[in-house]
Subunit: 233 residues, 2 copies
């Protein structure tokens, strides 16, 4: 893939989609306040409602995408790359946990949040992410030991990490759709053709693009190796 691909271009495309995603989600929560502020809710509930998409999209998805990309551009030793990767993923994990926690503050209680497909996917996602991070953390402190065992485990870490990342994006898509279905059907009676619908749909598309470029950057060979599949021919 390397010969057809300029790694810098893929990184640029990933950052450009990421920038669009960040901008759109910020613009959404700050401009369309009525979506996040049902009349019955207090200022505090509004803050929690706004924090959820911000923490999940910017803190969790964008940051963990950057953590994945670290191995593709950061110069220096492998130890440095691993430290930055682990650190960024740690902040992403904390954002994710905090983002889910904001949903526990509603008047319906914690359990009320565990019935939708969005919440099921989100819980599986954050659990996988947490396990991955913990294993990565433990691995980091035992880096001189059992190097061969670590090399064998690494492809699993990469696969499960990218799977979790894709699952996070898919979960976000369901979250966007859930929110849109809610505001289109009930109190706000927002039209399907409204600016807000268009904005949220665009956010969903940029998220899908972002995940594609991040995963492409992660799986592209860095030093001009053929990819796995090409050996079949």
């Amino acid at each position: 893939m390397a010969s057809l691909l300029c790694p810098a271009l893929v990184l640029f495309a990933a950052r450009l989609s990421g920038f669009a995603v960040g901008l759109l989600v910020l613009f959404w929560v700050l401009t369309f306040k009525s979506t996040f502020l049902p009349s019955s809710l207090s200022q505090q509930d509004f803050i929690y409602a706004v924090l959820h998409p911000l923490l999940m999209v910017i803190g969790f998805i964008l940051l963990s995408g950057e953590a994945i990309l670290v191995h593709r551009w950061l110069p220096g030793s492998m130890g440095l790359k691993k430290s930055v990767h682990l650190g960024l993923q740690g902040v992403a994990l904390a954002s994710g946990i905090f983002g889910i926690w904001t949903k526990f503050q509603g008047k319906d209680g914690i359990v009320a949040n565990f019935y939708s497909l969005h919440s099921w996917m989100g819980l599986i996602c954050i659990s996988l992410f947490g396990i991955q991070w913990l294993l990565g953390f433990l691995n980091f402190w035992h880096r001189r030991e059992a190097k061969i065992a670590r090399i064998k485990i690494l492809p699993w870490h990469v696969f499960l990490g990218l799977y979790t990342y894709a699952l996070a994006v898919a979960t976000a898509e369901t979250g966007l759709l859930e929110k849109l279905a809610f505001i289109q059907s009930k109190r706000n009676n927002v039209s399907k053709h409204s600016t807000e619908s268009l904005l949220v749909n665009s956010l969903g598309l940029f998220l899908a693009m972002l995940s594609g470029f991040v995963i492409l950057a992660a799986v592209s060979p860095k030093y001009g190796y053929h990819t796995l599949q090409s050996r079949q021919h």
Copy 2:
């Protein structure tokens, strides 16, 4: 990854999730008829409403998953594998197009279907799939020519194919959530704790599992090679 992984086990897990997905979607559309038959609609509309999830989940997603797996288990020549892969993907593409077409038969007209995130993702997905299939088809008829060029293009075909497959699953998740939000909010007033909600959520989870196992099978080295990432250490 090969040394830690039994390829037959991954194939079995993929088939088991696929079987659960097929069973759940069939059980859903055949048992919960009220979901697919608003009182105002005719028998014909009911058939179209039922056909959409069946064609997209069984015809499009399950079949294209099988087409991906062909390269992992079918014995015989590479030509045979490619023919079966191309044929199965062709049927999957036809199912996908037919599945989208069923949504054009509603009284709201064709354009009414193009406002939701689900439809945007679905259209991008079927377009990518169509382009991939067409290129694969053309490639198939020129297999003696420019072998080196084909080997260079193959990793792109694999990456874009798996990306499209994952996007199809993410699109299905948004579709499930859209349908659930609709039946929970309006006429049917189905509870979030109902058997139907549980069934559709489980369908969503098995779809996510299925995609993980299919992609794992596709990217795992077949002959014991190290994966790309392991060379970094």
